[in-house]
Symmetry: C2
Subunit: 226 residues, 2 copies
Amino acid sequence: MEEVKLFRTWSSPFALRVVWALKLKGVEYETVYEDLANKSSSLLEYNPVHKKVPILLHNGTPICESLVILEYIDERWNTTARFLPEDPLARATARFWAKFNDDQVAPSVFRAYVSQGVEQEEAIGPALEKLDIVEKQLTGKKFFGGESFGFLDLVFGWIAKYLGIFEETGGIKLLEQDRFPQILEWKDRFSDIPVVKENWPDHEKLIAKFRLMRDYFNSTAARCSE
Amino acid sequence: MEEVKLFRTWSSPFALRVVWALKLKGVEYETVYEDLANKSSSLLEYNPVHKKVPILLHNGTPICESLVILEYIDERWNTTARFLPEDPLARATARFWAKFNDDQVAPSVFRAYVSQGVEQEEAIGPALEKLDIVEKQLTGKKFFGGESFGFLDLVFGWIAKYLGIFEETGGIKLLEQDRFPQILEWKDRFSDIPVVKENWPDHEKLIAKFRLMRDYFNSTAARCSE
């Protein structure tokens, strides 16, 4: 009898990767929602190094870092379709772009989102340049790995929802049709996948949450520059 | 006929991981030394995203990011002993700590090394705290993975040489015997492995290079605070 628990926040895109992965593999699991303003003793016990979620607890053993969790799920429940391709070169390519997303795309977009005024204008350029590189990766492909859905779609999946949230609450429209036609096409294709469609956090709740977060960043920035 | 080329600098610890990995697997390869002050057109062509080395070129296809390259080598030349363990949970653990080294240990140690004065004093604490976490990982083990040499030893291998270089050129002694007995024991064990021992860059050249680099950082910092 497998015991699988996912510790997550309700709103983080990093948790969604793991949710999609578990559901795609058909793994039964229990969700524990964490409040990062008041972290549980379990969270601190299971991820003492980073004190972050998502954490996957499998038969009592914690696995941390969402990309590490994705590969774990893919290797541990390996009887259904694999997320990563079989070919070592294709696997290396997938790992390269996953790291690029986490180290560069997501942080640069987030920086553009939470800043304002001149600082925001300066942050938008680098964010768009990272997204240009993502756009190129989709040339001639339905999904990031080619014809079928896989690892990198889970990794880049946040783009399909959160850029819209950032637009609604932060006033930055990054995905213009003429610059990012392939990301926008992929976004529709990705969003149509049942397991994706069915597991987004509630839209209105996300809007309210990110509005609050942006206000918080802005008031902190204003205080620091006074 | 396999064509394998490694683009690297002569002094970077990230390149050494790949050197050790290729030699341990018995892969014949050609080395191309890059000068980062004057990057070759090949470097820019093969790693346009990061414009960094190491790059492994295998039959004309580039693979970038040293951890990605390590996993590629392990999967592509898989008839000799594997670097990563077979068990998915042990693999996840190895990937977690590799990321921890690259995201936290190495940057915090480097920050302590290149800073000076009060700034250096403030940077040493966080670096020691990261190393404390590494120290704990070695409890009851000969190597990071347990009884035998593996993936994480390649990843943490830089510690065995570069902390000494930092001490000689930056005046910071991080690995005190009473605080880090296990890292120091591992360091001796690791340094005895022939492929490791035989492939360190020349000690005097490293000292000269890092002395120059530290001077450069300090003069830049001094100019910025004038």
